[in-house]
Symmetry: C2
């Protein structure tokens, strides 16, 4: 499909361009009211928000321009067997990513509601699913050994498989978005995931599914270039914020390459920190427990450190199931919980907001923001290493064969 | 490919949805600073701007959802000859339109520079050109009879053909955007053009290029539905403004269907008012004459009418070539020009801003805004009728055959 040297060159060029272009848009973003105040700094400076739209646009421009080079062999030598299906996959992947970039930017600008945040990725994954349906429609999955007695060796999921793929897009886009709030975390975790995908693709190039992994590399290598450039500006202390735009764009890029590259289950292994954070956040996300608008850590100005942020509400405002969850989590040492009795008034319940950032801070105590990001990114790297270690043995254990 | 009844049903549904959704976003747009003040009203009310992003998104959603229905014959009956090439065209057309919607919205939000306005449509047309290159690469044009002695019966334009297609996208997106400034005009003219394309496609369905025209209908019919709904809100007095988003989105939709539908020259015939306005605007667009930020007509509060807007500058600020242009246009009666001599000070030159809206007002005198829009839209309809009348005789005269 292409050479790795070519892709790397393109990626470096795109990264350099991104790095130089981002600061030029600063004033435009501020003028357009697209900025945030960094709550973990004392300066109160305006920081451009939603700059993911810049990296996204450069990523798209580059991947568009790569198309004719990728297929130059077929075009110049008049090979008859032009790979139409692969080409449709490429274009539809770009379509889904572009859609998500548009919707992410619309979200940053218009501050859409939660229902839109679930609806939009589903909408953006439509072209992908349509193309999958039209050109592939392979919905059978291999059944784990244990269940083969009941289900046979493979099951056709049919429509359910599309639901799964749609949900994967929704999950990937939002999971990055809710593990956020401190400088460099959204962009950093995306970069770690992208590099993990890159390594997985490279190590799988010799297998039977070579073309799938080449397909993924086509996107992941330029993605790494533009995202690295963004990280340089977004690293502590952040000069720009990536915005929902970036999180959505990244999530969809991962979803797209893993779906069309047939490694969506492996991708989920690279999302372990996001899955843990999602599970831990569930009680607040589904309003079983009160959820404030921002759950990011609290800034301690005097020490220039951050500590876990707490939610404090009258006991009556917490549902029964919420109380049970708090009790269990507290028993497991996974939540900081206190009940403040005030004579004559109602008891107040206080607990840390349920993100793994706050959980980390519960154990570590007040920490410098940069170090929190670093620890979380190291955790992401660690999880990827675990993922690589378990992937093949796990596949062997479950399926009795190496499923690539 | 599909039935006209189905497309019409989809179009009506999309239009109804658009009509009901637009007002719901009003507060979100105002809160996001995405509004304009209608300069031709005395109320000073805030009007949501860039609502083209809503119609655009609904248009995309609908055209995405239509894909599996369109190809259901191939999918359900397992016909072997799935039309891959046609399908790639469909997806790439959607990709170009989505790109332009994104870039238009970015322009409305960030207020991009002029150079971006030319760069962006070129970028958004890239996927289209790539796909054209990869899957078609037919760049020969039929030579008019008069020139056949010199050039032969057809010429391979090669790279130049891509330049032409790129320029067509740039022109279509910007031409609608500069014939703007009064309630209902951008959306109204786009609707007239779309209906003209529709009629042209329908009357050509019996010819050899049936599939090209079916392809165009796939987009144009839902486009008409969503755009009509927008027009109802944008008609005098406007409750919403369409924004650059809408103009770019519309222009690219027209460019895409005409390029992949192989009727780009016919499309230009439907753009006659825009071409006239563009030519008339050239001296100001290229800064041969001073160009203010807004060139829309001037509001006369007492009469609730609009009159032509003027630019007034010291004579020294006008370049020689600018003076020549003003002289020629004034001699032809196409510009209102006056030189105000003030004793002791410099002469002031005053001329109407060069848009056909102001030109109309020069002839008509102060007119109610709604009537200006109506007259201009009737002119657009008239030009389309002329286009239909000249298209076939013109083709016969130039090429000695009916080129469809």
């Amino acid at each position: 499909m292409f050479s790795l040297e070519f892709l790397t060159g393109v990626s470096v060029a795109a990264g350099t361009l991104t790095y130089h272009v981002i600061p030029k848009f600063r004033d435009m973003f501020l003028k357009a009211n697209l900025f945030g105040i960094d709550l973990n700094k004392s300066s109160g400076e305006k920081v451009p928000e939603a700059t993911g739209v810049i990296t996204g646009c450069i990523f798209l421009m580059v991947t568009f321009l790569m198309i004719p080079f990728t297929y130059s062999d077929y075009l110049l030598q008049d090979k008859p067997e032009f790979p139409h299906q692969e080409f449709v996959h490429l274009i539809s992947a770009l379509l889904s990513i572009t859609c998500m970039l548009l919707l992410g930017f619309a979200d940053d600008v218009l501050d859409l509601r939660w229902r839109h945040k679930l609806l939009l990725p589903s909408m953006a994954s439509l072209p992908l699913l349509m193309v999958y349906f039209v050109s592939n429609n392979r919905t059978e999955i291999v059944v784990p050994l244990l269940l083969r007695g009941v289900l046979g060796s493979s099951v056709h999921l049919g429509f359910l498989y599309y639901v799964y793929m749609g949900l994967l897009s929704v999950f990937a886009t939002n999971a990055i978005n809710i593990l956020a709030g401190i400088n460099g975390l959204e962009v950093g975790q995306s970069l770690v995931i992208a590099v993990s995908v890159l390594i997985f693709n490279l190590t799988s190039l010799s297998g039977l599914s070579r073309s799938y992994h080449e397909f993924s590399l086509y996107f992941i290598i330029p993605y790494i270039g533009t995202t690295s450039a963004l990280l340089l500006h977004n690293w502590y202390p952040s000069k720009v914020f990536p915005g929902d735009t970036f999180c959505y764009f990244s999530g969809m890029t991962f979803a797209v390459v893993s779906i069309l590259g047939h490694f969506s289950k492996t991708l989920l292994l690279f999302f372990i920190p996001q899955i843990l954070n999602f599970l831990y956040s569930l009680p607040q996300l589904f309003h079983l427990l009160p959820c404030p608008r921002h759950r990011l850590p609290k800034y301690i100005k005097e020490e220039d450190k951050v500590m876990m942020s707490m939610t404090k509400v009258p006991e009556k405002q917490i549902k029964k199931i919420g109380k049970l969850i708090l009790k269990v989590l507290s028993g497991l040492g996974l939540v900081e919980l206190s009940v403040v009795a005030s004579p004559g008034a109602e008891n107040l319940v206080e607990f840390n907001n349920l993100t793994i950032i706050n959980l980390l801070l519960k154990f570590s105590g007040p920490t410098h923001e940069k170090n929190v990001t670093l620890v979380l990114l190291l955790f992401q790297v660690f999880c990827s290493l675990v993922a690589f270690m378990v992937r093949y043995p796990l596949a062997y254990l479950l399926f009795g064969e190496i499923v690539v």
